[in-house]
Amino acid sequence: MKADIRKVGLALAAPALAILVALALTTLILIAAGDPVLQVWQVLFKAPLPRQIVSIINEASVLYLSAVAVAIGFKMNLFNIGVDGQYRIASFVAAVFAGANFLPGWLNIIVAILISMATGAIWAFIAGFLKVGRGVSEVISTIMLNYIATYLVAFWLKQAAVKVEGSNATSTAVIAPDSRVPGINLDWLLGTSKEIYGLIFLSIAIGIIYWFVLNKTRFGFDLRATGQSETAAVASGINTKKMVLISMVISGAAAGLVGMPLLFGQDYAYGDTVQAGLGFAGLSVALLGRNHPIGMAFAAVLWGYLDQLSNGLQISAGVSDRLVLIIQGIIVLSVVIAYEVVRRAGLRIEQRRVANQLAQAAPEAKAVAA
């Protein structure tokens, strides 16, 4: 349909516009701050090296999981700011379990992943319960739960820590080699020995499941309906309180997956140098990708790209790599503004088009009414 092509065009125009705006504003900031504009863009727009490509893909695969966790909530107007706490507490519990090496090989991995999902789900359930049962805004409760998760993990980590001679890092026991997920070596293609996380397939699978459940199942329909109009959802027979609980739990379970590629593909333990803030990055990726399974994939790659290439800013351009945070912030802000403008324009355009088509198609109907 022609209209759909136009819709897709509009949807793509928004992020493209946002990126351009971000580039322009960032340039202005660089000029104002007296930083070398040209060098900065040279660093950021350099073709990534093979090793960086792998890093981008790896980071994107993790961010994607986080974004999906956030998007499940967003789809029903729930703001799960707590993905951050959920993934950390879940990764920790999974790391302790997997590090104990009770189970052999793949079984250990699978059970640990399930445990991680369950932990994330339980942590998110608290916020869901507080919202449904006690009327506490999930925005506030998940923020508090993030802090509480931090200290709880710190407390448990102390008990669970395994001392490694000569190391100052605190970390759980290391997962046995046979329970690690082998990376994918694309040396033949890219020319780097750096490996892509094996669990990237988990991200892909989660993306497909997300798309399928949301668009093809009754549950997904109910979820979207609740997000679009809570009143209409109630009248259609959806128990919205139950939906809040279920979607929080699912979102938390998805959050539980965020740390898994890192745990089984890179760190093999949970320690105090673990990567933080993935939940908040997921929030941005979900916003940028409009909660769309493919949109978020592109957004995650863009995020990974910016993160990875910005590593060179200090060394090659002498500019702080925090610049990338500004770029990312402007992109998110301008993209949400652009989406909103486009959404309203789209609605108006469609209303006008329908009216026009009907006016052409049925002049006789008018005659009757007059």
Partner: protein, 518 residues
């Protein structure tokens, strides 16, 4: 068609015009709300504007009050050409408006609501309080400045709205459908106030589509149809029927009751249903009713007397605090909405935008809404999009939903077509019982007739229908039995073939014959 076509009203040159609108045009995406409208209001009169739902009355008044700018046309106040770019300018020009939907902040006190925006007049303290008390007693409005608005009923709110306007010293008052939510005594009281204002030289513009009211209070009447002025008439010269025909532009379709199809099979039964409200009298109080297969039970009543809650209790959206709801052999009192819908209860909600549709979803998804667990929409736990689309296409054809495609969003359809889609959706699942709340509200005449036919058709097929409506004509034309709801209680049965509007009106107000309106 009547012979009364757009004439100039009898304006005596001596009497100056308070308001003169010329060639006003206003377009919204997809609709022309006002098209070349002209309006002349004499100073010191009550001027009624009538027209059916969506005719463009409110839009015109919002233009006059500066809320929305006109696309074309001129405005003159007291003979002075004016451009009103904001309500402030309108207020300064001496115009005040009481909106169709009350414009009050619930968490504010009466005082705060009244002085808001007019703080310069008497401040926000005791001087303002005194002024409110003064106006209140001068016009008998019974308003206490320190009440919290959230605690007040509709009648009180209406009076606060009027007080707000008077407080600003308005000389021209616009009242947009002020009577829709009032009980008849309150209506009479309001009219007394209006006449008093008129006697003090104020000008009142009064919007309604209740023609008997209009005829009783107005000095001049302007009729608007489909966004244009079609006539300016003198109330002495027309009958209510003539006015109505002017409004709709054709012979009125009157719903006619057909021969009864009522069986003795009880489909829906309520016994002693109560719904408690915190700190107030029961919203529903001992409601018992029975609807048989093939029967339409009409519920009449002034808005806010419990009809919305009654529907919500039956649909399972609220749980009654006492009593029982039975669907044929099942006790459904504690069932959820979904179970009730699955058991064969169809639902046409009162507010289609809030309860009936996902405005930004395509039509075919809207066809699934409310029937997420029913064929043909699903295959096991999955949505069967292809079947749902085919079904939507069928409904669009069968129910004459005017749309270029089933892929457009619901928001892009007109109200009447949205409503036909909803009715088609509910009928497609051959419900045993249909709960229809104001099924033709805000729908044009053509669609109205079609919807009435659909409901009658359903009854012939043995459906039991609960019809809640504010339109007595509709109720009397369709129902097999009518009952009136007043303060959460149901009256005895009325036979629509013999009952008069006056009798119903009396029951609706509790006056029962003593306070019949003209």
């Amino acid at each position: 068609m009547t012979s009364v076509v757009a004439q100039d009203p009898a304006v005596s040159p001596a009497q100056a015009l308070a308001v003169e609108l010329n060639g006003i045009t206003k377009r919204f995406p997809g609709v022309v709300a006002n098209k070349d409208i002209s309006l002349q209001v004499r100073r010191g009169t009550i001027h009624a504007i009538v027209g059916e739902n969506g005719a463009g009355k409110s839009t015109l008044m919002k233009i006059l009050y500066g809320v929305q700018p006109p696309d074309e046309g001129t405005i003159a106040i007291n003979g002075e050409p004016t451009s009103l770019k904001s309500p402030t300018e309108a207020i300064n020009a001496g115009i005040g408006m009481v909106f169709q939907h009350f414009m009050l902040a619930d968490n504010f006190t009466v005082l705060e609501n009244v002085v808001l925006g007019a703080e310069k007049l008497h401040g926000i303290g005791d001087a303002a309080r005194d002024e409110i008390r003064r106006i209140s007693s001068d016009y008998g409005l019974h308003v206490n400045p320190d009440d919290l608005v959230a605690d007040l009923g509709v009648g009180d709110r209406q009076r606060i709205e009027i007080l707000k306007v008077l407080y600003r010293g308005a000389k021209i008052l616009i009242l947009d459908e002020p009577t829709a939510v009032l009980v008849p005594q309150e209506v009479n009281e309001l009219f007394d106030h209006l006449r008093e204002l008129k006697s003090e030289g104020l000008t009142v513009i009064f919007i309604s589509h209740k023609l008997d009211e209009v005829l009783s209070v107005a000095d001049d009447i302007t009729v608007i149809r489909r966004g244009t002025t079609v006539a300016a008439v003198n109330p002495q010269d027309v009958t209510a029927r003539q006015l109505a025909e002017l409004m709709v532009g054709s012979e009125l379709p009157s719903p006619q009751t057909e021969e009864s199809t009522v069986t003795d099979k009880v489909m829906l039964e309520l016994a002693g249903v109560e719904l408690a409200a915190a700190g107030r009298a029961n919203v529903l109080d001992g409601v018992s009713l029975t609807i048989h297969a093939g029967e339409i039970l009409g519920i009449a009543g002034v808005e806010g007397n419990g009809q919305a809650e009654l529907v919500e209790v039956i649909m399972g959206m609220r749980r009654p605090t006492a009593g029982e709801v039975r669907l044929e052999d099942d006790d459904i009192t504690t069932w959820g909405v979904r179970e009730i819908r699955e058991a064969g209860v169809g639902y046409i909600p009162e507010d289609r935008h809030r309860h009936g549709l996902l405005l930004e979803a395509p039509l075919w998804e809207n066809m699934i809404l409310g029937h997420q667990t029913q064929a043909p929409n699903i295959k096991g736990p999955l949505i069967d999009a292809r079947a749902a689309r085919a079904d939507t296409q069928r409904v669009v054809t069968e129910f004459d939903v005017r749309t270029p495609s089933i892929l457009v969003t619901a928001a892009s359809l007109s109200g009447g077509n949205q409503q036909k889609l909803i009715i088609g959706r509910e009928m497609s699942h051959t419900p045993r019982v249909l709960i229809a709340a104001h099924p033709t509200r805000g729908v044009d005449v053509g669609a109205q007739a079609a919807i009435w036919d659909l409901i009658k058709h359903a009854r012939r097929n043995g459906m039991a229908v609960l019809l809640v409506s504010a339109d007595l004509e509709e109720l009397m034309g369709l129902s097999d039995t009518i009952r009136v709801i007043l303060r959460g209680r149901l009256s005895a049965d009325f036979d629509p073939d013999v009952v008069t509007k006056e009798q119903l009106g009396a029951a609706m107000t509790g006056a029962d014959g003593s306070e019949v309106q003209r």
